[in-house]
Structures are given as structure tokens and as C-alpha cells.
Symmetry: C2
Subunit: 413 residues, 2 copies
């Protein structure tokens, strides 16, 4: 297994400012990893609002169940995240672990267990003993401080090759508000899955219902439009916290999703979601190339997205990209297998600006040399126009390399 | 790219008897491959009945279109198959090629083009020039002889590592009838796809409608229950021919699907379909292990099959098998992502006879040593009991190895 950083890693990491109302601590609990942090606590000021989006798996982890149960209240005071063990498919013991962790967190911050949010990532099916780390939470909460976003991003990594950060500061009314986000990837060399965790916080005073509206809409074109290997984790968790601290500096309280003053904030949040989602793809297991797949001319946007995912998840398309082979016939195959309305004789395909196929056959002006040169890039854009409607969608993935197989075949035991 | 024969190849090949009413010839047309046969002609006696099943791709190849057009008549006199070029996504030229080939075949055997069936396998999107091989068909038809089934199986290979044969002789009424089948696999190192072609012939006097009924039902538990990489070819073609020659030896003419005299024949045909389908899986690209996935206790048989395919197509499950890693957490993940009714806390999972998970958590009696030993076998059986109903399905796949990536990434140009 390679420990080298992905060649697609960002050239530099953003400087993450503090978010008023958020204090952070990390610790080495030794859950699985040695000599690195694997436990994260975020403590939020009273009044913090929260929204969340979770895996659609029918076999969700215990922390996902726990968060879903607490989310309707819309209030958060503590987030506890561990890496190294997913606490998934752990039955009754799994629920005991989430309860014990939440009780320790609630006691540490003087809140209710219902105000605690949890996430775990790592191996599936191994019992996670809360006794290994819950005793650390009180001390972590005492020593937590606002500036530790960098450390937070590191503590939640499993075998990501780089931590994932994004930040933006925008105007809300007459005040500056900041949004920080961290993520860990589907790019894991982790034992059992392609878990995506992401935590975003802002000091903007925005009600939980509005946060949920923005987050639910925002994931469609970001986290729900990326795929590494079509495998959905038991543990995917995306949480958005708003402390409201900027209210003291004059930021207006937002309680309606259609409040026009939200426009800048919403755009910035969507940029952060997309930025983090793409960082996840670019750290896909064994990834050497980012692949953007756009489908146009489909019967509907929903149909376009299904076709785009059929292309993005096709092992034959992904191995062709890995091999720098402009094998557009495999895109034809993937369009054909998607099960969505399509007409072979109206189909056109581009790799970058190179149109390879048009009206159901090879483009007569297609240049093998130009396309082969294009395939050597580390960001490949595939476009398929279905030619029957106006539906459009874009998804992102990475190539499928021998390293993916090595990472996922050689691990665990 | 390795040229070694799959370690899962049959230890020996069956001796293929002649089928009365079928004459075979092969030739080296040099369409793509050198120094090997790449063209197959089967000539059938007058009165031969035919049935077929084709890819569900929305972008089918020109020969698939051509066969679909001729199938309703139920009559066949000629089959022409080439390897090296799929004649898929070749637009108007593709149709010209099928027309020209069919005319040459019709002229050679004195039949109508409507009695000709065609299949092509190889690269997608490259025009296939019928002029390269159609002139060979007349001579091939003249010299065709009944005993060349071995040669037929070889001529249709692309980069299969072994030819695929199956045969059976059973009683129909008071006569012996024989069924022969050949296939080429999804196990191709071929340029563009995982095309499955299979051609089956019998001397039994069975009407086209009855053949179609048996074939359509038979594929459900054979060819439509195998998957190598979830990618569906533009060209999948399965044809069943019945010459009726055994009628002269006293075999009864069968014209109703529910004719009780068909029972033995139907069972033999189903065995041949399953045998050939499994040979395809065992020659999956880069395959080192056969994986049988059985799902029980699902809401319905349809739901069970969807869950079984989610497991069988999961790159994380397939790489774990390649790595001989009893990583049952990935089976939990795959059940969870299938989108079918499931209850995590009722789920049980076995690898072979080793129950790993039960009632939503790791089986307390699970033996890592026993299961690890089991994973070293070359035939792995995964079973998941969903625990909510009586739906059941079995599918077959192979593992996902670095060689799959090498085969599919390093090819074409």
C-alpha cells in the first residue's frame, strides 16, 4: 500500500480562520492508529443550530442512527468523531457505545445527550469500545480552542492521503460571516468502505430549518454527484453547524429559506460543498486522474444524472482513463447500459474538446493524435450528448488503477 | 497483458459430437487478429427454427439490430460470426456491412437474407468492412462440415483465455437428440467491452416459439445471472437453432411449450446455458476466483437478485475476494446500498459454511482462522440472508484483480 500523497492533492492548503462559537480539540485515543490523532471534539456555543445529510444505506452505522434521532431538534452543542472504527453493524453494543459517548460529551459540556452529534469511520463490524476514548472527552472539552481546524481535519482522516479543507468569508447583512469545512474521503485506503464524512461550521445566525434547506439542495450538485467506485458507505455523514455568534456583530437572524439576504452565503456554501466533494474524488483510492462526466440532451435532469453515473461508475471507462486510452466505445456502452431513454443514432461523445462520435458513428474529423495527447492530462472531461431532450447533469469521479485493487485487496487482515 | 489460460479453466474439454443438419466452417479473414481464425459460418438445413436473446443496451450493435429484425420469422439457414470488430456504433456503414454480409451468405446457401443471422465482437466504433470477409463465405459454405464444433468455438474468441463448449444428448420421445453450445466470454481482454456471444444448436424438431420460450426462461438463471464488471455489451447475442433432423429418426415434433415430452430436453438445455455462463465468469478478465452470491430471505425473488447483483458488482467486495480477505463488512455495505428492503438488525452473512454476521452484528462464534483458510479456495460462496421474506436468488461473478485493470487500461491503442 502506497503512503504517497495523491498527485491530485491541492498544491496548497487554505489558512483556516477561527469560527466564533466553535472550540476544537483532538487527541490520540489509539482506537486503531498509533502515533496520530484519531479523536475530534467540537464544542459549540449555546444556541448553535444544526442540519445534516446522511447515507442512504439500509445498513447505517450506529452513529448515523444516533444523529438522525437528534437532528429534528435542530440544536447542537457537541460533535465527537473518531477514526479507525466505524461502529457499523455492531448491533446492541453499537448503540451502547453511542449512548455512552454522548453521555460523556453531554456531561463535559453541560448539555443534553440530544444536543450531541457523533460520527465514526473505519472498519465495519468490529465492536467499538467507548471506554477506549470517552474518558478523554471531558479534558478535551476543557482545553478546546477555536483555532484548531487544521488539527480537526487531520484527526478524522483514515487513509486519506491529505486532509481536506475549505473556507469562505462573505457578507451577511452588514457583517462578515465565515464558513469552514473539513472532509474525509471516499479516497480511503480504509479497511471497509468509502466513507465520506464532512463537517461545516459558520458563525452566521441561521435557523436549523434554513440550514437544512440549503444543505439538502446543495448536496445534489456536490457530494451526491461524486463517485469513486459506486460503493455507498454505511457511515456517510455531512453536518452543518451555525453558532450564530456573528449576530453580536450585526449579522441578521435568518429564519426563512427564501430570505434574499442569504444569496451570497448560499453561493459560498455551495462552493465549499463542491470544493470538498472534489477533494474527496481527487483523493479517490489509487486515483491518478480526475474525471468530469457531463451528460446533455437527456430526457430529463434525473435521466442525465443516471446516465452520467453509469459512465462514471463503469469499470471499463475508468480503466481506459487510467490507461490514457481514448476508448470512447466504452462510453457508448455505458450510455447503452444505463437503462435510460437514448437513441444510438443521435448520440455524440467528446473527450475535452475532441468530438469522437457524432450521429451514431465515429466522427469523420476525429484525430487520434489530438485525443491521445488530451488523455495524458490529469483532469479529463467526458461529455455525452444524448440528443433527445434538454436534461443535463455533471458528476465527478476518478480513474480505476491497479493501486485501487492493491489498496482494497491487500488490506484488513 | 497476460496470455496465460485462466486458472479457473475446465480441466478438460468435452468432445463435441456433430449435430445433424449443421455444417461448420471457419477461416482466417485477418479482420484484426493474425494467424488465427476469426470468421465462422454455420449452415443449417432447410426448416431450421431459431430463437434468440440479445443485449438490453440502448446502443446495440448493427448485427444485433439485424438479428432482431429477422427473428420473428423463426427461420434460419446461415449464421456468420466475426471476431475482432463489433460493428457497433458504426452508423449507416454498419447497416451496409450487415446487409452485404447477409447477401453474401444468402447467395452462398440459396436462402433469403431474412434467414441469415449475424454476430460481431471486438472493438466498438471502428467501421467493419464487409469486403474484408464476405467473399470468403461462398467457399466456406461449400466446404462446411458437421464435425467442426471445436474450430467454431475457437474462431469466435476475442481474448478469452480458453474456448467454451458444452454438449448433452437426451431422449426426446423415442429418439436421442443432441444439444451443442459454444460461447465467448465477458472474460475478454478485448478492446471495448465484455461481450458475450453464445450459439447453441440441436437436431431436435422444436418450433421457434417453443425454443424462444425455453431460451427466454433459461437465461434468467444462467446468462442473466452472471456479471464480470457490471458493464453490459452493445453486442450480447445468444441464439438457439433447431434443425429438426432428429425427426427422421423418430423424434416427435414439438410445437407447444408445455409439451410434457420436453422435460428432459429443457433440463439439458438449462444445464448447458448455466455451464456456458459459468465458463464465461471463470474466464472473467483477470479472474482468479469464481464467486457465487446467494441472497435468501429477501422481500421477493426480484429484490433478492438486485441485492445479489449489488454484492457481485461491488468493487470493494470483489477486491476483498481477490485479496483473500474475509471482509464481510463490505457485504453489509453492498446490501445497504442496493436500495432494496432490508433490515440491518436481521441480516446474516456466510462465507462458505462460516457464519460471520448474525442479527445485525458479528457472529460471536466467528472464527477468523477458519474463514481466512476458506478464502484461499478458488470457488467462494457468499450468502446473505436478509431475514424479512422468502425471496431467493443466486448470481455468479469473479474477483477483481490488478490484472483486470492492466487488461483494460493498457489496451486498444
Amino acid at each position: 500500500m502506497s503512503t504517497a500523497v495523491s498527485p491530485l492533492a491541492p498544491k496548497s492548503q487554505p489558512k483556516m480562520p477561527a469560527i466564533e462559537g466553535v472550540r476544537i480539540a483532538t487527541a490520540e485515543a489509539g482506537i486503531k492508529y498509533k502515533n496520530r490523532t484519531d479523536l475530534l471534539v467540537m464544542a459549540f456555543d449555546e444556541g448553535t443550530q444544526v442540519a445534516g445529510v446522511f447515507t442512504r444505506s439500509k445498513c447505517p452505522s450506529a452513529p448515523v442512527d444516533f444523529c438522525r434521532q437528534n437532528l429534528p431538534d435542530g440544536k447542537a452543542r457537541m460533535l465527537v468523531v473518531n477514526s479507525g472504527n466505524a461502529n457499523a453493524f455492531t448491533g446492541k453494543k453499537g448503540r451502547e457505545t453511542t449512548d455512552m459517548t454522548a453521555q460523556a460529551a453531554a456531561k463535559a459540556s453541560g448539555c443534553r445527550p440530544g444536543d450531541v452529534f457523533l460520527a465514526s469511520t473505519g472498519v465495519i463490524g468490529e465492536p467499538l469500545d467507548a471506554g477506549r476514548f470517552s474518558h478523554l472527552i471531558a479534558d478535551m472539552t476543557r482545553r478546546a480552542e477555536p483555532g484548531l481546524w487544521k488539527e480537526a481535519g487531520q484527526a478524522i482522516m483514515t487513509t486519506d492521503t491529505y486532509p481536506k479543507y475549505a473556507t469562505a468569508t462573505v457578507r451577511l447583512g452588514d457583517a462578515d460571516v465565515t464558513i469552514n469545512g473539513i472532509a474525509k474521503g471516499a479516497g480511503m485506503v480504509a479497511p471497509d468502505m468509502a466513507t465520506m464524512l464532512s463537517f461545516i461550521a459558520t458563525d452566521a445566525p441561521i435557523a436549523a430549518g434554513v440550514l437544512q434547506d440549503m444543505l439538502s439542495k446543495g448536496v445534489g450538485k456536490s457530494f451526491n454527484s461524486v463517485t469513486v467506485d459506486s460503493d455507498t458507505s454505511t457511515s456517510d455523514t455531512l453536518l452543518l453547524f451555525a453558532t450564530g455568534a456573528a449576530g453580536r456583530r450585526g449579522a441578521p437572524e435568518i429564519s426563512e429559506p427564501n430570505d434574499a439576504r442569504l444569496a451570497q452565503f448560499r453561493r459560498a456554501l455551495n462552493r465549499i460543498l463542491k470544493n470538498l466533494a472534489l477533494q474527496v474524488v481527487r483523493d479517490g483510492e489509487g486515483a491518478r486522474k480526475q474525471v468530469e462526466v457531463t451528460v446533455t440532451g437527456a430526457k430529463s435532469a434525473r435521466s442525465a444524472k443516471r446516465i452520467a453515473l453509469a459512465i462514471a461508475n463503469s469499470p471499463l471507462v475508468k480503466t481506459a482513463v487510467a490507461g490514457e486510452d481514448a476508448n470512447w466505445g466504452r462510453v457508448v456502452m455505458a450510455v447503452g447500459k444505463a437503462g435510460e431513454p437514448a437513441d444510438r443514432d443521435l448520440l455524440s461523445i467528446w473527450f475535452g474538446d475532441n468530438r469522437l462520435a457524432h450521429n451514431g458513428e465515429r466522427d469523420p474529423d476525429y484525430s487520434e493524435a489530438a485525443t491521445s495527447a488530451y488523455m495524458k492530462r490529469d483532469e479529463i472531461v467526458i461529455r455525452a450528448d444524448i440528443g433527445i431532450g434538454r436534461g443535463k447533469a455533471t458528476v465527478w469521479t476518478c480513474d480505476l488503477t491497479k493501486e485501487y485493487v492493491a489498496i482494497n485487496g491487500d488490506y484488513r487482515s
